[in-house]
């Protein structure tokens, strides 16, 4: 009992911090349920009298047609995740299982690339993309995203694969199992959570990115959510209630994905494994 009371100041401090930290989320949710007139009420309402759930329906299918950017983002992010895994997993396997000339410098290059700003790559890729008609195509956005997500994915998977004991594979090899079969039957199932982490990381990065679509996409049918939201905000009259509803919709898939890996994330951080 006494321990509980001694911790009271800690709880008060945490509540204080989290009320401020979560204030924007509260604003986002309440504004998304306002009427257009309700937004300009002064003093502002902390919670709308009659929640306007219809805002979500209007944003999704109405004037904004937010479903289109949503599905564009979904295509971009999931393709980025899949291509990232397909390229990163074999590479991470190669780095973790073989020693070869240039292995360390390769890991270093991977680390450097991870820190790049997309702008460095896009300025250089722009004319190439222009020549191959990759401007105004989702594919162009996807492969540029991959260039930025691959390094971290290799880094993450390399860390995971190092923890999968090689002895298991060697035993399988003794029984006449080829290396490929060993990878599919033994290594991949054992590193499934690492693959999921790398995939979700790539998905979230692609979902968040603004700079690549801003430069590559000018056709309004191909805009992903990040671009669509920025475009709304650029207009003279901003319909904040619909914009906040669109924001909630955009946050939803990431929140769901995160809640799945959240357990691994916390565990990873706690054990310091994320350093890998």
């Amino acid at each position: 009992m006494s321990k509980k009371w001694r911790n009271l100041p800690t709880h008060i401090g945490l509540w204080g911090i989290f009320i401020i930290m979560l204030f924007p989320i509260w604003i986002m949710l309440t504004t998304s349920l306002q009427t257009y007139e309700g937004i300009f009420n002064w003093p502002p309402e902390w919670f709308p009298e009659i929640p306007q759930w219809s805002n979500y329906v209007n944003v999704w299918g109405g004037d904004y047609q937010f479903s289109a950017p949503f599905f564009n983002s979904l295509i971009i992010a999931s393709s980025t995740a899949i291509i990232t895994i397909l390229l990163a997993f074999p590479a991470a396997y190669g780095i973790s299982r073989f020693s070869f000339f240039g292995r360390n410098s390769m890991l270093f290059i991977v680390l450097v690339t991870q820190m790049f700003s997309p702008i460095v790559l896009i300025v250089g890729l722009y004319q190439l993309a222009q020549n191959y008609n990759l401007l105004n195509s989702l594919f162009g956005v996807i492969i540029t995203n991959c260039a930025l997500t691959l390094p971290m994915a290799v880094w993450l998977l390399h860390g995971y694969l190092k923890s999968v004991p090689e002895t298991l594979e060697q035993a399988a090899a003794m029984d006449g199992c080829s290396r490929m079969k060993g990878i599919i039957k033994i290594v991949m199932p054992l590193s499934a959570s690492g693959i999921a982490m790398a995939g979700i990381y790539a998905f979230i990065m692609a979902w968040n990115d603004l700079l690549i679509p801003l430069i590559f996409i000018s056709d309004s049918h191909l805009r992903p959510i990040s671009l669509a939201l920025t475009d709304f905000a650029g207009q003279n009259i901003v319909y904040w209630h619909q914009m906040m509803a669109a924001s909630v919709i955009s946050t939803f898939p990431i929140a769901v994905m995160f809640s799945f890996v959240q357990k691994y994330f916390i565990k990873g951080f706690m054990s310091g494994a994320i350093k890998e």
Partner: protein, 316 residues
């Protein structure tokens, strides 16, 4: 079909002899070659090529809206223009100040949260989930939401500050230089705090309890313990995490662009925003590429620094 099989069979018998003399074996059983090949090819096209390309473009005069001028090789002229322009150095200084403000704020707040969460308290899991929320928020969503909070007419911040009589009338936060600079930094802090807090929490929990106990036995006060035990033990992880966060902040575009587009009057224009504006606003690829090269060099130096820190930490 038959021909192919017989050919492979023939070569197989030959290979047995040849293999021993070959220096490189590329079979997937024994060599990393095929595992690394797709990645290397992809990175050559998507990373190495563009970097070589910006180095070249930065040495040319290449204005896409003026095809009549053509593309001319002009040597280091773009760099000369850049380094003699006051506006460029102002942008460099502004980028440094903005990054320092944001990372400094993030580090201080995250350390505070981590210190509170490291205590033995109830509902820890619940607090950790709350902490994750800004992290899950997409960057552009955070930027537009904060833009609405900072709104000059009906924003919630104006309302609150007027309620407590700090302001007499609404203030256009994103329309004034200083407040726009701080407002964008606050938004960036908000997004970055969860990651740093989690890193610091992991660091705090790895400090052996015995150190604190023996310090208490020697009569150290809480503050003394924090300065002489906690901080030195946390130094490596603080350095690594803030360097990482600093690089991300330096690269930040998704916060500034939707909030201010680099304005008002360049007040929030960082190097990344300037590179974007030059290349794809005024379509002066030569100058844009020159800034991209500067960004590339700065980032490479930071990464080398980061790697050193990481290696030193691993030795510990």
């Amino acid at each position: 079909m038959f021909k192919i099989t017989s050919y492979t069979k023939a070569s197989d018998t030959n290979m047995g002899v040849k293999k021993r003399s070959m220096r490189f074996n590329i079979s997937p059983e024994k060599s990393p070659f095929f595992y690394l090949l797709p990645l290397i090819l992809f990175m050559l096209i998507m990373v190495a090529y563009p970097i070589g390309r910006i180095l070249y473009i930065s040495l040319t005069s290449n204005i896409m809206t003026r095809p009549d001028l053509g593309v001319q090789f002009i040597g280091l002229e773009n760099y000369a223009n850049l380094f003699t322009s006051m506006a460029f150095w102002e942008t460099v200084g502004r980028t440094g100040a903005w990054t320092a403000l944001s990372v400094g704020g993030k580090t201080a707040i995250a350390l505070g949260i981590a210190l509170l969460l490291a205590r033995d308290i109830a509902f820890k899991r619940f607090y950790l989930i709350l902490l994750m929320i800004p992290w899950v928020t997409p960057m552009v969503v955070a930027a537009v939401t904060w833009r609405w909070i900072f709104d000059g007419q009906f924003g919630m911040l104006n309302y609150i500050l007027m309620q407590v009589n700090i302001l007499q009338e609404p203030y256009v936060f994103l329309g004034h230089k200083m407040s726009a600079f701080i407002a964008t930094a606050i938004t960036d802090m908000w997004l970055g705090i969860p990651f740093l807090a989690m890193m610091f929490l992991a660091g705090l929990q790895s400090i052996p309890v015995e150190l604190h106990e023996s310090a208490s036995m020697d009569g150290a006060s809480k503050l003394q313990k924090f300065i002489h035990v906690t901080l030195p033990m946390m130094k490596p992880i603080i350095l690594v995490a803030t360097t990482m966060s600093g690089i991300w902040t330096f690269n930040s575009f998704g916060v500034i662009w939707p909030m201010t587009h680099g304005g008002p009057v360049d007040a929030t224009q960082t190097l990344i925003v300037q590179a974007y504006k030059l290349s794809f606003g005024s379509f002066d690829l030569g100058m844009g590429a020159a800034i991209a090269v500067v960004i590339f060099i700065i980032l490479t130096i930071c990464t080398v620094l980061y790697k050193r820190l990481l290696m030193r930490q691993e030795e510990l």
